[in-house]
């Protein structure tokens, strides 16, 4: 079916064109991948992304600060309730000590280990106390669960103090009890609201620190009911936020000074947030009645205002556009949508248009086909041979392109590069199948028409039309950020068969590009079959 002499003739006639197109396309691709890779075209994108990440962090920090401030004030109130019960504590301690002594008398000295105390003695004692009307009276206004929790926590802290030999005062034990209760509540709340254990742990620890500080401060100033806690609350929260920030950078590669700077920056942000919050709150509450609803509303609004970050302050549409710009995959756009669908296809397209025309229509038009057909060579052999040459030339071209692109990706950083080896191989395969479809179509035109004029204007014309539509359609496609996108331009994508080469799907790792490539291969095959059969039957002016 394939005539060697004719194949050789086609090679000789087209190799210069082939070499020029292949080399220039390969060089173009190398430049796109390596040079742009080293220039770091993703830097702008990354810094833009950083702005939004920082804005998110800042917003989170401010929220924490305001929450911490509010928690401090709540904790002062909450602790004041417990502090009022401090008088009952010595007898509670006595009861516990009695229970321990009794246990050890029975089981021997030192038999009441921490485990026994936590799991047996304390729960038993708490249930006894709760059912005792005398003690129950002491906790009027608190529900059973809270009382149980308080007693259990208090006794655990007291017992641990005994066992560890740390001589904490009664005040300290009470303060720690309160802080622990706040910790447990905060942790549960965070878990219920869907946070991960780690996140819940972090914010619970923060709440515990705030509560402990508030309890200590209250103990100090309990004699003065008029004491204004807002200043100490602000200071406390600022310091805690600073500490937290420093801790979060602890394992990183920042120097000690830099970590301190980060801490100070966090403290400043925290202070600003709380100040802003108070200012807004006072502003909102001016002249208003202090009903719980109004207060809550004012607090929520003040918190919203105080925790705004950069991204909240710019108009929403601009923010969305900028954020999209930050998330855009510039390599995907340049290599996938611009190189493989437009720039890299242009020269192979010109090669295919010219070569497909020259293989049949051009030779019929000039008359040189007569020299082939006046030898014992069937028309079918001519078409199949020329087709084999075209497919071979195109295949070797893309084989070269694949080799060059893999080398380029290896130089640009291998699999850690924005586009990995698998993706670059698929892109090359897709481009080959696309060119196969175009080649099939151009070959069909070359076989159908007897003149170069018609073959080129239909085959080449429609091919270039497709490319131009892809260029115009790019401005309407989803890979372009919405700020630059003109969605009406997407219409052009429906006019181009190159649209069936779905680079976005390849780079996203989805499989929808497969059936589209199958359609392209089908188009190519139909072109070939129509061309081969028509050429057998038509009149040739030779």
């Amino acid at each position: 079916m394939i005539n060697k002499a004719l194949f050789k003739q086609s090679c000789k006639a087209n190799w210069v064109k082939w070499l020029a197109v292949t080399l220039s396309t390969c060089i173009m691709l190398m430049i796109v991948i390596i040079v742009l890779g080293n220039l770091g075209i993703n830097d702008i994108r990354d810094s833009l992304k950083d702005v939004f990440v920082q804005a998110d962090q800042e917003s989170y920090l401010k929220e924490n600060s305001v929450d911490g401030y509010e928690l401090y004030l709540t904790s002062v109130d909450g602790y004041s309730v417990l502090y009022a019960k401090a008088v009952y504590m010595p007898s509670l301690q006595q009861s516990f000590n009695d229970a321990v002594t009794e246990f050890e008398e029975y089981y021997g000295e030192g038999s009441a280990t921490k485990e026994i105390r936590d799991n047996q003695i304390i729960p038993q004692l708490v249930s006894v106390i709760i059912s005792n009307p005398m003690f129950a009276g002491a906790f009027v206004g608190m529900d059973d669960a809270t009382v149980t929790m308080f007693l259990t926590t208090y006794l655990t802290v007291y017992s641990d103090n005994q066992l560890n030999g740390t001589s904490k005062t009664n005040d300290e034990i009470l303060q720690e009890t309160y802080a622990k209760m706040v910790y447990q509540n905060a942790y549960q709340q965070e878990i219920v609201s869907g946070k991960t254990e780690e996140e819940a742990f972090t914010s619970a620890i923060f709440a515990k620190s705030v509560a402990l500080d508030a309890a200590k401060e209250y103990t100090k100033n309990s004699i003065n009911p008029e004491f204004d806690y807002s200043q100490v609350a602000t200071n406390c929260v600022n310091l805690l936020i600073q500490e937290q920030a420093e801790q979060s950078f602890a394992g990183s590669d920042l120097s000690e000074d830099e970590i301190k700077q980060q801490g100070v920056a966090a403290k400043v942000i925290s202070n600003t947030a709380i100040t802003t919050y108070l200012l807004w709150y006072n502003q909102l509450m001016e002249g208003q009645e202090e009903t719980p609803e109004i207060v809550l509303q004012a607090k929520t609004e003040a918190k919203n205002q105080a925790t705004k970050s950069i991204s909240d302050q710019i108009p929403e549409k601009v923010a969305v556009a900028l954020q999209e710009l930050g998330n855009m995959d510039i390599y995907g756009l340049i290599i996938g949508s611009i190189f493989y669908k437009i720039a890299g296809l242009l020269l192979p397209m010109v090669f295919v248009i010219m070569t497909a025309n020259g293989l049949l229509a051009g030779q019929v038009d000039s008359g040189s086909m007569a020299y082939v057909l006046s030898t014992p060579t069937k028309r079918r052999t001519v078409t199949v041979t020329q087709l084999a040459y075209l497919a071979f030339a195109l295949f070797s071209m893309f084989a070269m392109l694949t080799i060059f692109s893999v080398i380029a990706v290896a130089i640009a950083g291998g699999n850690s590069f924005a586009i990995n080896f698998g993706e670059i191989l698929l892109l090359n395969l897709g481009a080959y199948v696309t060119m196969f479809a175009i080649a099939g179509f151009c070959f069909m035109c070359s076989a159908l028409f007897n003149t170069t004029k018609h073959s080129l204007s239909i085959g080449g014309g429609l091919t270039i039309f497709s490319l131009v539509c892809t260029i115009l359609g790019l401005f309407g496609s989803a890979v372009v950020p919405s700020a630059m996108r003109i969605s009406a331009m997407n219409f052009f994508n429906y006019l181009s068969i190159i649209t069936l080469f779905d680079t976005v799907s390849i780079l996203d790792g989805t499989l929808s590009f497969l059936w589209k490539l199958a359609i392209l291969a089908g188009i190519g095959l139909i072109g070939i079959i129509v061309g081969v059969f028509r050429f057998d039957k038509k009149d040739l002016p030779l």
Partner: protein
């Protein structure tokens, strides 16, 4: 003798009176058959049918007993062809082209090609694109003839050749003829057909008007004389003798007459009574023969045109 080529009622109508119509002829083995005709008369179209490049609308084209369209590949095993338009494949130089052509022909022995190259004084190493028309034609001749096959089809093979090279080419054709090959060629030059062909077909507007045998023309029993008289009286008197006058030029008192060979002495006797300026024999050749044929065709056309116009006039009168 067996017919190598048989064409029966071949028609290819391109519309607007263009194409070929009802072409019938046959070529025997060892015969050299020529086509002559004006540009666009249909010579090339007939040859393309013989080569299987065009499909007949009507009629049959057989070469070597095979259908020219269906078995065109099989036929090419014994047919060589020089196309009318010389356009070479996109290759560097003549040598590459000839070697490539030999590959296509599965030809290994290049001795005959070398002989042809020498005979035509061709430099095949020249760049194909920069070759002059004559050089291209020579290259095409070598490419076609080098396989030394039995049937040779040539479409205006001498265009572009200088007069000397034309002679050489005609020598080659005559050599081929001597080898017993069947040759079909088209040309616009009567003399070259006359020297090579056994029979020549005249084609006009897609129809074969006449097929002339060169032997018959050369060995014609008629002789043509051109006679010029000194005065008008003799000129007019001669007409009364009723010789067959082919052409009259009153300005010069000239006649061209045709007589059979056995009446030559009678003519000269008659002429004794006239004062002549000169008398010369006009040699009959293909060109003259076809001119006569064409004149008859045109006369018939004119008559039929006049008749039809008369009819129209009558119609109008009614």
């Amino acid at each position: 003798m067996e017919n190598i080529i048989e064409v029966k009622n071949l028609t290819k109508d391109y519309g607007q009176n263009r194409g070929i119509f009802d072409i019938t002829f046959s070529v025997k083995k060892g015969e050299v058959f020529g086509f002559v005709g004006t540009n666009g008369s249909g010579k090339t179209t007939i040859i393309r049918h013989l080569m299987g490049f065009l499909k007949a609308q009507k009629g049959q084209v057989n070469v070597l007993g095979l259908d020219a369209w269906k078995d065109s590949c099989e036929i090419k095993k014994s047919v060589e062809y020089i196309p009318g338009e010389i356009a070479f494949p996109d290759l560097n130089n003549g040598i590459t082209f000839l070697k490539n052509q030999a590959d296509l022909l599965k030809l290994e022995n290049m001795n005959y090609a070398d002989y042809l190259i020498q005979k035509l004084q061709l430099d095949p190493s020249a760049n194909l694109k920069r070759m002059s028309k004559g050089m291209k034609q020579k290259t095409a001749i070598v490419a076609a003839l080098m396989a030394d096959k039995d049937v040779i089809i040539l479409d205006e093979p001498t265009t572009g050749l200088d007069p000397l090279m034309r002679e050489t080419f005609l020598e080659i054709i005559l050599e081929e003829k001597k080898k017993g090959k069947t040759i079909i060629m088209s040309s616009q030059m009567f003399d070259e057909l006359e020297t090579t062909c056994d029979r020549v077909a005249l084609i006009l507007d897609g129809h074969i008007i006449d097929i002339a045998s060169i032997d018959d023309i050369k060995n014609s029993k008629k002789i043509f004389y051109k006679i010029e008289f000194k005065n008008e009286k003799d000129f007019k008197d001669f007409k009364k003798l009723k010789y067959k006058i082919i052409r009259t030029q009153e300005k010069y008192f000239q006649y061209t007459i045709s007589i059979s060979k056995d009446k030559v002495s009678k003519l000269f006797n008659d002429l004794k009574n006239f004062k002549l300026k000169f008398i010369s024999e006009v040699k009959q050749n293909l060109e003259k023969h076809f001119k006569e044929v064409l004149l008859k065709v045109y006369e018939n056309e004119n008559k039929s045109n006049q008749k039809s116009s008369k009819k129209e006039v009558k119609k109008n009168d009614k």
